[in-house]
Amino acid sequence: MEQGSGVRDQESGKARVVFHPALCCVVAAMMACCALPAPAHEKSMPMPDWAVNAAKTATPDDAKNAPAVILLDEYLITVDAQNHAVERERYAVRILTPQGRDYAHCTAYYDTDEKLHYFHAWTLGADGKQFQAKDEDFADQGLAESEVLQSTARLRTLNPPGADPGAVVACETETELRPYMDEETWAFQAPVPVVSEALELALPPGGHFADSWRGYPAIKPEETTDSHLRWEIHDMPALDLENVRSAPAWGALAARMSVMWGDMAVHGTAAQWRELGLWQAALEEHRADPTPEIAAKAKELTAGVPDFYAKLERITDYIQKNVRYFVIETGVGGWQAHWAADIYRNGYGDCKDKTTLLIAMLDAVGIRAYYLHVDTRRGVIDPDAPSLMGNHMITAIEIPAGVNDPRLVARVKMAQDPEGKTSPEDNESKDLLIFDPTDEWTPVGLIRSELQGAYGNISDGENSQVLRMPVLPPAAGGITRVGKFTLGVDGGISGEIDESRVGDAAERERAEIKYSDAHEIHDAMEQSLSGDLPELDFKGYEFSSVGDLEKPLGLTVKLAAANYAHPAGPLLLLRPRIVGSHVHAVPDVMAGRKRSYPIVLGAPGTWRDSFEIALPAGYTVDDAPEPVKMDVGFASYQSSVTARDGVLHYESEYVVRDVQIPAADAADFRRLELAILKNEKSSVVLKKQTIADSGQGPGK
C-alpha cells in the first residue's frame, strides 16, 4: 500500500529508486507480458570514478552503531521539451554489519511506461578488491504479489558480490519516469546516516520548476548551467524508528523535498495543491459519469427514502457490500480509475474505482462528491509540502445546506478561498462529509482512526485544496462491555459478557469477521481471552448486527475458567478486571526516557466496563484497590470496585479524545498509563468470613 508520487524512498532500508505504486495498492495490468528491459549481459566496466571517490569517504562518528552508512546518493533528472524525464541515480553504501547488507541490495522499479535503461553495480571490498555485478547477481520479480492485485510493475534487485562488512557497494541506474507525471519526491533521509546527497534537475531551455520541503529547511538550488539546478545535503542524520513504539509512520517524520516541473511547477502552497487537484481531475475526467444502468440502480436504491442520510446510506452500503476490492493496474492505471460502467458491471475495483462508482451513483441522485487523495499513514501528506504523496483515494461528499443530521460526524468545511485572503468566517464554503468507500466496515458518517486528523487533497477544479480530516469525538468509537459472573469457592469463574462496539472497535472486528472463517474467529477470541483467563473454557460467542453498519456491532461471549481466583494462604485473590486491557505500552516513555516523537494514541473513543461478580457464599471483601480517577486532557481513566450483598461491582471508563499527542505530553501519558496498569493488575482480597470477623470489609 505504500506509494508516493515519484518518491525515492529510503524507508525500507534499501536504496530505492521508487516508482509510485498506484493509489490504493499496488500496480497491475491487463496486458501480455511486457518485454523485459534490455538484457543486462554486463560488460566488464571498471568501478567509475564517482564510486571510487565515494568509497574514500570516512565513516562518520554518528554511524558507528548503524548497520550501514550511505556515502553518496545523487539523482539527476533530465527533462525534455515534452516534459518527459529520465532519472539517473548514483548510490554508494558502506556495509558496517551483516545486517547492513540489506542497504546494499540496490533495487530498480520499472514498468511498461517506466523503462529501465541500465543498472550497473560494483563492490570495493574492505581489502581493496573490486567486483562488478554480473547477470547472475540480478533478479527480477513482478510486484503483483498480493492475491488482490494485478500489476505489470517489476523490481530488479541486486545481490552484490563481495558484500561483506567493510565493503562499499555502488550502484547506478537510469530509468524513464512516467510520462504523465511531472513530479518527483526526493526522500533524502534514511534509517541510517547519509554523508552526501544531491538532486540535480536539468530542465529544457526556458523550463521552470517549483519545490516544496518537509521536515528540513528549504535549500536554494545552485544553478550550475542554464536550467540545470543542483540541491545538495550533507550529513543527514538517520531516522531509525525500529524500536520506537507508537510513533507516527516513518514517512510522516522523514525529511523530503518534492520538485515539480512543466505545468505542475507553480509557486505558492495553495497554488501547488490546486495544480495537483487539477491534474487528478483531468485524469479522472468523465470516468465517474453515471451510465443509465448506474443511474437506474442509484434511483432504485434511494426510492422513497426519507432524508439525505438515508439516501447516502443506501448507496454507500451498496458499494461497500457489492464492489469487491481487486486491483487491476497498468501504467497510468496506478493513478487513473476505471470507467464507472466497468466497475459497476464487474463488481470489483480498487479505491479509485470505488470512489468513482460512488461519485457516479451520488451524481445520479443529485449529490455532488469529489475525489479526495489521502494517505493512510497520518502525517505523510503535509499541508505545507504539496506533492502527490499519498496511497489512497476516498470521497468527499457535499452536504446540502441545512442538513444537520447527527449521524454525519466526519464533517469538514472546505475553504472558499484556499489561499486565505479572505477572513476565516467568510472563507468557508462547502460542508463536506468524508467517507471511505473502500472501508467496508465503517458506516457513512464516520471515518476510521487512521484517516482522522490526517490531510488529503480534494480535487475540485480551481477550488482544489488540502483539507484536514476531522478527529471524531470519543462517543463515535469504543466498546461498552457488561459482564455477569459467578465465582466458585474453588476460584473458578463462569459468566457472560455483552459487548457493544462502535467506530474503529467495530470496524476492526467486522473486518476480522470478513477475513476469517468461524473456526479462525473462535480461535482468535479464545486466544485473546486466554491471556486473561489461562484455564479458559470457552463456551461460545455470538455476533449481532454484523452487516448492519448503522448499528453497533454486538458480541455475546460465554465463558468459564478454573482457578481464576488464586488462593494465597487463607485468602482468595480475585482480579476484578476479568477481561480486556487499556494499557498502551510505550517502553521508552514508561521507562521515563526522553521522547522525541509524537505518541500515536490510536482511535478516539470511550471504553466502559461494568462487571458484576457474585462471590461464593461465606466470602467477604477484606481488601480492595483504591478507586482511580485521572484526566490528562487527551484521555481520562476512572475505575472503582465496590461490594454489596455478596456481589462485587467493577466499573471502569477509559476515554481517548485524540489520535496523537506531542512528545511534550509524554509525562502525562506515562502518569496515565501507570495508573491504568496498576489498576488493571490489582486484585480484590477475599476472605472466608468467620463469626469473629463478620461485618468487616469495605463496601458493606
Partner: protein
C-alpha cells in the same frame, strides 16, 4: 529423440481448464444454490463442490476444474485465481469461468486474464496468469477451468496434493503417462528419460502416496491413473505442527531408474558415499593441516574437539554469504572439489565444512562417517519416496573411545557433541564400516538444552522494582542466539533479545540487555546480563500483590485453544527452564501468601517443580520446568493439554505482601 524430464511443472501449476470449457461446466442443483452452510464443514467460509486435475502426457496438457460454493465473506478470496507457469515451455491456452448467483443468474468471466511476471533469474522466467471471477457474492457458486499445454518433449510427474485450504466434497485426479510408462509397456521405446545429473536412464515410473483409509488409486487397462475421493478435510491449521507437507494426503509421481525401494536407496547411498569419500579423502594437505592443529599426545576426544573448533572457525557461507562464480574468480577461489580446497580457502558451505571435518578426523586416525539427513524443520523422511532430494544436510559420526558421537560441524555455533535440533531425531542415510544404509539420528535430551533465569528483585513499598536478571543458556537455546548474532550482527541480535525480554517480563516492567558473555564461543554457556525495572506490584488498601512467578507473569499458556487435535504436536526439541527469583522485600513488609511448593508431573514427558523459601526480608521462588519430549501423537493431546493447563494455573499464583503493622492488626 531424447526427451527431458521437467519435474517442476506440477509445482508451478495449481489449477486449469480445457478448451471445451463451457461444455464441461455443471449446472448447479437447487440444493447447491440454496446452500448457506455445510454440515460436513460447519465453520467453513467456502467448500469445493468439485475439484478435478487431469494430466495427459500423450496429449501434452494439464487441466484443472473447480466448482466452489462461497458460504461466507472470506470465501470470496477463491474468486481470484493465480496460475503460475514456466515461460517458454508451457502455455496457458484456455481459461473459462463463471459466477452463479444463488438465484441462478450466471455472470461469465470476460476479458483476457493478465499474463504477469512472477520472477526471473538467469534464463528461467516464471510467469503467472491471474483472473478474478465477476460479481461474486456470499452464496455464489464459482466455477472455472483452465488448461496448460506443454511441449512435446516434456514428461510430467504430477504431484497431487489432495487437501485444499477448504473442505472438498468431490475430487478427481487423473494422469495418463507416455506410452513407454503405461502398463505393459515397460520396454524402451524411441523415447526415454535421462537423469540430467547422472545420465542414468529413468525407465520406471513410481509414486509415493498418503491417502485416507480405504481410498485406492486405480491404474486402468490403458495405463491411466485415476483417483477419486469424497469428503476431503481441509488442510489442518494447528499450533506446533510438524512440517505440514508430511501430514497431508498426497500422491507424488516420479521417474526413476530403480525397480525397487531397496535397489534405489542402496545404489544412491553408494553413489553419495563414494562422492563423500572422494571429497573427504585425508590427503597429504589435510594431514598436514591436522598436524598443525592437534598434538600427537592428544586423546581422540581432544583431537576431535580441536579439529571441530578449527572447522567451525572457517567462513561458513551458509551463515555469511554465498559467493557467485564471478566473485570466486576475482578472488582466485574455486568451488571446492576436495577437503583441502575448503581448508586452503578458509571458506565453504556447511556441507563442505562437514566433509572437511570428516577428512580431518580420518586423517587424525579417528573412525568417522558421514550421514545425510532430512532437515526436520522442512520435512520427514519417507523411504517409499525414491527421491534423494529429500535429504538436506550432512553430519559426521565419529567413534571416540569406543562410543559413536553425532557431530554437526557444518552448523555454525553448534556445540561439540550435539546436533542442531533440525538434524536430531530425523532420518537419513549413513556410512559405516559395512557400507551404507537408512537410519535415524538420536533425539536430543532436555538436559542438553537449558535456560537458567535468575532475578534479584528489589521491591519498594509502592510495588516498584529494580531487578538484576541473568539468562544462562546452553544447547539449542544458546545456539539460536549465537547464530542470530552471526547472521544479523550483534547489535541486531541484542535488539531481538530485548524484544524477547519484553514478552517475558511482567506487564509494567521494562528490561534491557546490559551485555552478553560467551557469545562467540559455542563451547561455553551463553550469559545475558539484564537490567529490569518498573511497576511490578499492585497495591490494595492494605496489601501489595505481586505475580508469584516473575518470568511467567504474562500468563501465556500453550495448548489452551485446541480441544481436539488432528496432527502430532511438535515442540522441536526437549528443554528445561529453571527460574530462580529472589524477592527482596522492603522494611516492614512480610509475606501473607506465596506460591505453594508443588510438583506437576506428566509421566515420562514433563515435570514442573515449584519451591518457595522464605527468610526474613526475602522470598526465593524456584520454578523448574522440564519438557522431556520432542513430539507427541495426536491421541496423547488430551494428556498434554491437561498438563499444560495445570502448569498455567500454577503460574497464576500470586504473592501477597502486607505491612507488618497491618498483619499484626489482623
Amino acid at each position: 529423440m531424447r526427451a527431458r524430464l521437467i519435474c517442476c511443472l506440477p509445482l508451478l501449476v495449481f489449477t486449469f481448464a480445457s478448451s471445451t470449457a463451457y461444455g464441461q461446466f455443471h449446472d448447479p442443483t437447487k440444493e447447491e444454490l440454496a446452500m448457506t452452510s455445510d454440515p460436513k464443514a460447519p465453520d467453513a467460509a467456502a467448500v469445493y463442490l468439485d475439484y478435478e486435475e487431469k494430466t495427459d502426457d500423450p496429449l501434452h496438457y494439464y487441466s484443472v476444474y473447480a466448482r466452489i460454493k462461497v458460504l461466507a465473506e472470506k470465501g470470496k478470496e477463491l474468486a481470484t485465481v493465480n496460475i503460475p507457469y514456466l515461460r517458454g515451455e508451457t502455455k496457458i491456452n484456455d481459461i473459462h469461468g463463471r459466477t452463479i448467483h444463488p438465484d441462478g443468474t450466471v455472470v461469465p468471466l470476460e476479458g483476457k486474464p493478465a499474463d504477469l511476471l512472477q520472477s526471473k533469474s538467469g534464463d528461467e522466467q516464471i510467469g503467472k496468469r491471474v483472473f478474478t471471477l465477476p460479481s461474486v457474492t456470499v452464496g455464489s457458486i464459482l466455477e472455472y477451468e483452465y488448461q496448460i499445454d506443454y511441449d512435446d518433449n516434456i514428461y510430467s510427474s504430477p504431484q497431487w496434493w489432495i487437501q485444499q485450504p477448504y473442505f472438498v466434497h468431490h475430487a478427481q485426479y487423473s494422469f495418463m503417462p507416455f506410452p513407454a510408462f503405461q502398463k505393459g509397456n515397460a520396454a524402451m521405446t524411441s523415447r526415454y528419460l535421462e537423469d540430467p545429473k547422472t545420465e542414468r536412464v529413468l525407465n520406471h515410473m513410481m509414486w509415493a502416496q498418503l491417502l485416507p483409509s480405504g481410498v485406492k488409486m486405480v491404474n486402468d487397462a490403458q495405463g491411466r491413473f485415476t483417483l477419486e475421493l469424497t469428503d476431503v478435510p481441509a488442510i489442518p491449521r494447528e499450533e506446533h505442527m510438524p512440517p505440514i507437507q508430511s501430514t497431508l494426503y498426497r500422491v507424488l509421481f516420479y521417474y526413476t531408474w530403480a525397480a525397487s525401494e531397496g535397489d534405489y536407496w542402496t545404489e544412491e547411498a553408494k553413489s553419495w558415499s563414494k562422492e563423500v569419500d572422494h571429497f573427504a579423502e585425508p590427503s597429504d594437505a589435510v594431514k598436514k593441516a591436522v598436524a598443525g592443529i592437534v598434538a600427537p599426545t592428544d586423546s581422540d576426544l581432544v583431537k576431535a574437539q580441536k579439529l571441530y573448533a578449527a572447522v567451525q572457525a572457517l567462513d561458513n557461507t551458509d551463515f555469511s554469504r554465498e559467493k557467485g562464480k564471478e566473485e570466486l574468480k576475482v578472488l582466485g577461489l574455486r568451488q571446492a572439489k576436495r577437503a583441502e580446497d575448503t581448508w586452503t580457502q578458509k571458506s565453504g558451505s556447511k556441507e563442505d565444512i562437514a566433509r572437511l571435518y570428516l577428512a580431518m578426523l580420518r586423517a587424525a586416525g579417528i573412525p568417522a562417517y558421514a550421514m545425510k539427513v532430512v532437515n526436520r524443520n522442512r520435512g520427514v523422511l519417507d523411504p517409499t519416496y525414491l527421491n534423494f532430494g529429500q535429504l538436506d544436510d550432512e553430519i559426521v559420526l565419529a567413534t571416540i573411545a569406543g562410543k559413536e558421537m553425532d557431530l554437526d560441524p557444518g552448523e555454525k555455533m553448534c556445540p561439540f557433541g550435539t546436533l542442531d535440533w533440525i538434524h536430531a531425531g530425523t532420518g537419513g542415510i549413513r556410512q559405516d564400516e559395512k557400507g551404507v544404509g537408512l537410519t535415524f539420528t538420536p533425539e536430543l535430551k532436555y538436559a542438553d538444552n537449558t535456560t537458567l533465569r535468575t532475578a534479584d528483585v528489589y521491591l519498594d513499598a509502592q510495588g516498584q522494582v529494580k531487578a538484576r536478571v541473568t539468562y544462562v543458556m546452553t544447547g539449542q537455546n544458546a545456539m539460536g542466539w549465537r547464530q542470530t548474532a552471526l547472521i544479523y550482527g550483534k547489535e541486531e541480535m541484542q535488539k531481538r533479545f530485548d524484544r524477547m525480554l519484553q514478552e517475558a517480563m511482567p506487564g509494567g516492567v521494562e528490561a534491557h540487555v546490559d551485555h552478553f558473555l560467551g557469545l562467540d564461543d559455542p563451547g561455553t554457556n551463553l550469559l545475558a546480563i539484564v537490567n529490569a525495572e518498573g511497576a511490578l506490584g499492585a497495591a490494595t488498601e492494605k496489601r501489595l500483590l505481586l505475580p508469584g512467578f516473575f518470568f511467567e507473569a504474562r500468563g501465556h499458556v500453550d495448548f489452551v485453544n485446541e480441544v481436539k487435535r488432528q496432527t502430532p504436536v511438535d515442540m522441536l526439541y526437549p528443554d528445561r527452564v529453571v527460574d530462580q527469583v529472589t524477592y527482596h522485600l522492603p522494611d516492614g513488609v512480610s509475606v501473607e501468601g506465596a506460591p505453594k511448593n508443588d510438583q506437576i508431573l506428566w509421566p515420562h514427558r514433563a515435570l514442573l517443580t515449584v519451591k518457595v523459601a522464605q527468610t526474613p526480608g526475602q522470598v526465593v521462588v524456584t520454578r523448574d520446568f522440564a519438557q522431556g519430549f520432542t513430539a507427541v501423537k495426536a491421541d496423547e493431546y488430551a494428556d498434554l493439554r491437561g498438563f499444560y493447563q495445570k502448569v498455567g494455573a500454577s503460574d497464576q499464583q500470586a504473592m501477597v505482601l502486607v505491612t507488618t503493622a497491618e498483619q499484626k492488626g489482623n
